[in-house]
C-alpha cells in the first residue's frame, strides 16, 4: 500500500487539501493508497481551513461507512492528523512584539531591537495574529522561523513522524507532500521551513522517504480587504514570490526530492476578500486541483524536475490538461456518480423509504431489489434500517461537498465555466427522510461534462435510466448503499 502524507500550509494549502481528499476518495491516486492529512495554520477560524477540515471529516465518515477494499470509491483509508497551529506555543502572545518579547529584547540588546525595527514595520509588530500571518511573509517567517525541532516531539507531528518511521520499517517508501502558496503569509514562510524541518527530523530514514511539494505561485487577485489595516496585498505577490523562491532555491531546495511550481498567467479575481478569519473562504480553483494531482506524479519524472506542464487554453482548463493517469477519468466518474446520485438516486431512495410496500416501488425501479431487501425478504440490507440510513447520509454529505467543490473549480476559469456545466446549480444537504423537493429529477448526463463525448457504443451511459437498468440486470457482490454507489461508479 502506498502511503501519502499531505500537509496543507495556510489558506491555499487548506484548499489544496480539500482537492487532495476529494481526489483520494474517488481513487485518483490509485486503489491501494493511504492518505494522511495534516493542516497547518495559525488562524484556526480561517474559512478555507474550516472547509478543508469539514471535507476531511466528511471523507472520513464516508470512508468508515462506505469503504470496500475491492472498489475504487472510498477504498483508500484516510488518517486525519488534525490541525497544527504554529502559534500554539505562543498562545498567550498574539502580536509579533509579544512573541519576540520586544521590550526585554531591547533592554538586553538595543542592536537587536533596531534590527527588529528594520525587518518588521510597527503595524506588523502590533498586528493581532489570531487571524494568521495576514498574507505577510515577514510576519510568517518571523514566527515559523522560531519553530524548533522540539515542536515535532509532541502534538500531531509526533504521531505523523512515528507513522512515517513505521512505514519505512515495513519497507514502504512513504511520500510527504506539502502544499502552500509562496506569495502569502503562512505558506511562503511555512512550506520551506517545514520541509527542511521534516527532512532533518527524518534524517536517519531520509533515503526511504520522499518529500515533495506543490508550491503555488500567484494565481488569484483581489481588492483591498475592508476588514483591517494589516492585510494581504496582491500588489506584493510577485515580490513575495521572488523572495520566497530564492529562499527555497538557496536554503531549502535540498530538503525536497521534487518541487512542483504551479501558477496561472490569468489571475482569478476574488470578490469580497478577507484577511484571515471565517470570512476568508475563497472558492476552490483548478490550480489547486493541478497541485493535488501532482501527488500522482513520480518524483523526478513526468511533469516534474524541470519539465513544464501547460494548459491548452490560457483562459480555460480542459479535461485533457489534468495530469495523472487516473485523475481525469476518476474525476469524470466521480462527478457523474455524484450528479446522478444528487439529482436522481437520492430522491429515489427516499421515495422507497416512504413507500411501505417495497415491492410496489420495485415495479418502477428494477434496480432496487438488487441492492435492498423487499419487505424483509432475503439477506439484502433493509433500506429502512439505521445502518443504511447512516450510509445514505454519509454518501449524500460527500456528494454535496464534492459537487460544491467541483462547481467552484468549474467556475474558476476566467472565460467561462470549464470542465463541467453545473454553474447554475445549488448543492445543499437534505434533512430528514423525505424526498428533497429542491432536487429536480434529471435523466441525462449528456451535457454535464464540457468537451467530452462518449463512443457510440457507450452513449447509453448518458442516460441515468439506462445506468439504473444496467444495475438491475446483474447481481452484485456488494449490496446496500455501498453496493449501489460503488457499482454505479464502476459502470458510469
Amino acid at each position: 500500500m502506498q502511503k501519502i502524507y499531505a500537509i496543507g500550509i495556510g489558506g491555499t494549502g487548506a484548499k489544496c487539501i480539500r482537492s487532495t481528499v476529494h481526489l483520494h476518495v474517488i481513487g485518483a491516486y490509485g486503489a491501494d493508497v493511504r492518505l494522511g492529512v495534516l493542516l497547518v495554520d495559525a488562524d484556526a477560524s480561517n474559512g478555507n481551513l474550516q472547509s478543508a477540515r469539514e471535507t476531511v471529516e466528511i471523507a472520513l465518515s464516508g470512508s468508515s461507512n462506505l469503504k470496500d477494499t475491492n472498489t475504487l470509491l472510498f477504498s483508500g483509508p484516510i488518517k486525519n492528523y488534525g490541525l497544527w497551529n504554529p502559534l500554539g506555543e505562543f498562545s498567550d502572545r498574539l502580536t509579533l512584539s509579544d512573541i519576540y518579547l520586544e521590550a526585554s529584547m531591547r533592554a538586553t540588546d538595543s542592536g537587536l531591537g533596531e534590527l527588529f525595527d528594520c525587518l518588521v514595520s510597527p503595524e506588523e509588530k502590533q498586528a493581532d495574529l489570531s487571524v494568521g500571518f495576514r498574507g505577510r511573509p515577514s510576519i510568517g517567517s518571523a514566527v515559523v522561523g522560531r519553530i524548533g525541532l522540539s515542536n515535532s516531539s509532541h502534538g500531531p507531528w509526533a504521531e505523523l513522524i512515528n507513522d512515517i518511521q513505521a512505514d519505512c520499517a515495513n519497507g514502504d517508501v512513504p511520500r510527504i507532500h506539502l502544499f502552500g502558496s509562496i506569495f502569502g503569509g503562512t505558506g511562503s514562510s511555512g512550506l520551506p521551513t517545514l520541509g527542511t524541518l521534516l527532512s532533518r527530523e527524518l534524517k536517519a530514514i531520509r533515503e526511504s522517504v520522499q518529500i515533495t511539494a506543490s508550491v503555488l505561485l500567484p494565481y488569484f487577485d483581489f481588492d483591498i480587504p475592508d476588514d483591517d489595516d494589516i492585510y494581504a496585498e496582491a500588489k506584493n505577490f510577485t515580490l513575495n514570490t521572488d523572495a520566497a523562491l530564492q529562499y527555497m532555491s538557496r536554503l531549502a531546495g535540498d530538503s525536497f526530492n521534487c518541487v512542483y511550481l504551479l501558477g496561472d498567467s490569468v489571475k482569478q479575481r476574488y470578490e469580497k476578500p478577507a484577511t484571515g478569519g471565517p470570512r476568508q473562504n475563497n472558492p476552490s480553483s483548478c490550480i489547486e486541483l493541478m497541485a493535488s494531482a501532482a501527488i500522482s506524479a513520480d518524483v523526478g519524472m513526468g511533469y516534474g524536475n524541470g519539465a513544464y506542464l501547460t494548459v491548452s487554453d490560457d483562459n480555460l482548463m480542459t479535461w485533457e490538461d489534468i495530469p495523472g493517469d487516473l485523475t481525469a477519468s476518476t474525476l469524470k466518474s466521480g462527478l457523474r456518480t455524484a450528479y446522478a446520485w444528487y439529482y436522481n438516486l437520492y430522491n429515489e431512495i427516499r421515495e422507497a423509504q416512504r413507500l411501505s410496500s417495497k415491492k410496489s416501488f420495485t415495479r418502477g425501479a428494477p434496480w432496487f431489489d438488487r441492492f435492498f431487501t423487499l419487505n424483509g425478504e432475503g439477506n439484502r440490507p433493509d433500506i429502512d434500517c439505521e445502518d443504511e440510513g447512516r450510509k445514505i447520509f454519509a454518501f449524500d454529505k460527500w456528494v454535496v461537498d464534492f459537487l460544491d467543490w467541483f462547481q467552484q473549480i468549474g467556475m474558476s476559469g476566467t472565460a467561462r465555466e470549464q470542465l463541467a456545466d453545473i454553474r447554475d446549480h445549488e448543492f445543499v444537504n437534505s434533512q430528514g427522510y423525505e424526498p428533497d423537493p429542491n432536487r429536480d429529477y434529471e435523466e441525462s448526463l449528456e451535457s454535464l461534462l464540457i468537451g467530452q463525448s462518449l463512443a457510440k457504443r457507450e452513449k447509453w451511459k448518458h442516460s441515468i435510466d439506462l445506468l439504473k437498468n444496467k444495475l438491475a440486470d446483474n447481481k452484485h457482490r456488494l449490496e446496500g448503499t455501498i453496493g449501489l454507489v460503488n457499482n454505479l461508479f464502476e459502470i458510469i
Binding site: N344, E351, R363, G364, P366, R370, N469
Partner: protein
C-alpha cells in the same frame, strides 16, 4: 437466451394455439352452439376473426414492448404510472378482439356445402355464440398480451405489468 424470453415466446405460442386451435375446437366439438354448419362457420367466420385478433393482440403487445424499450424515465414514479398505458392497451386489445368478432360474424359471407347457398355468418346460426366468444377474449388477452408482456417488457418497465415481478422471479432468481 434468457429464460424470460423463452417464457414470453412460449405464452405467445400457447395464445396462438388457444385462439386459433382450441377455441375453434370448442366451437365445433364441445360447446353446444346452435349452429347449422359448425365446421363451415368456424373455418370461414371464426378463423379469420381469430387470426385478425391474434395479430391485433401481438400488435398491442409489441407496441408495449417497443415503448418499454425506447422510453427513458426520470423517476420510478413516472415508470410506475405507465400501468395506465398498459391497462389501456389491454382494454383496447380486448375491445378490438370483440369488435373483430362482431364484424366478421356480421359481414363474412359463408359458403355452406349442404345447401350450396351463400349467406352471412350470422344467418347460418340460430344464435351466434357471443356468450362463449366474448368471455374468451379475456383468456385471449391473458395469453397473448398479459403473460407475454410480463416476460417481454423491457428495461425500467419490466415489472410494470401486474404479476410480472413474481413471474420473472420464478424464472430467474433475483
Amino acid at each position: 437466451m434468457k429464460s424470460k424470453y423463452f417464457f414470453g415466446g412460449l405464452f405467445i405460442f400457447i395464445g396462438i394455439v388457444w385462439i386459433i386451435g382450441v377455441t375453434q375446437f370448442l366451437i365445433t366439438d364441445v360447446y353446444a352452439a346452435q349452429l347449422q354448419f359448425p365446421s363451415a362457420w368456424a373455418v370461414q367466420v371464426y378463423f379469420p376473426a381469430g387470426a385478425i385478433s391474434t395479430l391485433l393482440y401481438l400488435g398491442f403487445l409489441f407496441a408495449w414492448i417497443i415503448y418499454s424499450f425506447n422510453s427513458r424515465f426520470r423517476s420510478s414514479g413516472k415508470a410506475r404510472a405507465t400501468i395506465t398505458l398498459w391497462l389501456t392497451l389491454l382494454g383496447m386489445s380486448i375491445v378490438s378482439n370483440i369488435i373483430t368478432l362482431i364484424i366478421c360474424i356480421e359481414t363474412i359471407t359463408v359458403f355452406t356445402p349442404a345447401n350450396k347457398n351463400f349467406t352471412l355468418g350470422a344467418d347460418v346460426l340460430n344464435s351466434p355464440p357471443y356468450e362463449l366468444l366474448v368471455p374468451l377474449t379475456i383468456v385471449n388477452a391473458i395469453l397473448l398480451f398479459w403473460l407475454p408482456s410480463c416476460f417481454l417488457s423491457q428495461r425500467t418497465l419490466r415489472f410494470v405489468p401486474p404479476l410480472s415481478y413474481e413471474l420473472i422471479s420464478l424464472s430467474e432468481k433475483r
